[in-house]
């Protein structure tokens, strides 16, 4: 259950940003979770909601963008959704595929007052 460790890391970043921006109440957190991360979004949401209970962050919404695994063919440059981990370009059949999205675990922004 490393979603709790990940939540703690996220809350540390949020607390730092709230302090440096002089805001007191957290309203919303926007994050991106790639398909190829070992992170279960619903487990993360559960940990987040439990961790902020009875804190100035209580009630804040967690908006999670699920990022699909996306590749780019090194031969022809086509960008495509990698389905079922099949690393074959749908356009030219090339098999040298660079993964350009789907591994992120990023905090994008927060909204606070």
């Amino acid at each position: 259950m490393h979603e709790l460790s990940i939540t703690k890391s996220m809350l540390r970043i949020i607390a730092r940003e709230m302090k440096s921006n002089g805001v007191k109440r957290l309203k919303k957190v926007h994050i991106k979770v790639g398909e190829l991360t070992a992170v279960e979004p619903e487990a993360l949401r559960f940990c987040f909601e439990e961790s902020i209970r009875s804190t100035p962050m209580e009630g804040a919404l967690l908006e999670i963008d699920d990022v699909p695994l996306t590749g780019r063919c090194k031969a022809c440059g086509t960008e495509f959704r990698i389905e079922a981990f099949t690393n074959i370009c749908p356009d030219c059949g090339g098999n040298e595929i660079e993964r350009i999205a789907g591994t992120e675990l990023d905090i994008i922004s927060i909204e606070a007052v």
């Binding site: 490393h2 990940i6 890391s9 970043i13 921006n21 994050i31 070992a38 981990f85 992120e104 922004s109």
Partner: protein, 222 residues
């Protein structure tokens, strides 16, 4: 209402400490191997087979990560090499911070050139935590499902090598080794795949040769 843009990796702090660990290893010419697998795939057994084959050639030390007990560390003490147990309590993985705390101990062992880190048995959580290792090796046994790479893609995707272990059991299970390799390479086309058995010793020489080759390669690059 303020919208505050952050755009930062959530595990940026772990990443920073991992980079510091990596620099520490590089400056001291220490090759660090992070071994990950589900519980019971044979990580400790592989280390037990590896140590006698290479301990006269390289100066090695082992870090054992477990939730509780020092049973794994005790299994290795018989070889007379430095072994440090980290118990994570309830944490299901080692993180870069755990390793940074152990670095002074690594230095005390004088001249370590190979540091083997056995992670907590878990195929999910260790995938997200860079320790600052030189290579990551995932172990999977033939007593597991050959579809495992597809079920736990993150750990296979982030590893450099795959050891298919307990191959002496092939024939007693429905494990399809070609299918397993195909699945693993789908997730990570760059994976080096080796077959091992700690009971018969099959493949252990090849694994040690691979490890020594990687160490030499890292030295050349540095």
């Amino acid at each position: 209402m303020h919208e505050i843009l952050i755009e930062e990796k959530i595990l940026a702090k772990n990443g920073e400490i991992a980079s510091e660990n990596r620099s520490f290893f590089k400056e001291r010419k220490i090759f660090a191997v992070n071994i990950v697998s589900s519980p019971g795939a044979g990580k400790t057994a592989i280390i037990e087979k590896t140590v006698p084959l290479i301990k006269d050639k390289v100066n090695l030390a082992v870090i054992e990560g477990d939730l509780a007990t020092d049973l794994d560390a005790r299994r290795l003490l018989k070889f007379g090499i430095p072994v440090k147990q980290i118990t994570t309590g309830k944490a299901c993985h080692l993180d870069a911070h755990n390793i940074s705390h152990i670095l002074p101990w690594v230095l005390e062992q004088k001249g370590v050139s190979l540091l083997i880190i056995e992670n907590v048995g878990n195929m999910v959580c260790p995938a997200e935590y860079d320790l600052g290792e030189s290579i990551r090796v995932v172990v999977m046994s033939v007593a597991e499902g050959d579809d495992k790479p597809l079920k736990y893609p993150a750990i296979f995707s982030s590893s450099d090598a795959l050891l298919l272990n307990k191959i002496d059991l092939l024939g007693h299970t429905d494990f399809d080794i070609d299918k397993a390799k195909e699945n693993a390479l789908k997730i990570n086309p760059y994976l080096k795949i080796l077959e091992t058995s700690c009971r018969t010793g099959e493949g252990i020489n090849e694994w040690c040769a691979f490890l020594e080759g990687e160490m030499t390669g890292a030295e050349v690059k540095a």
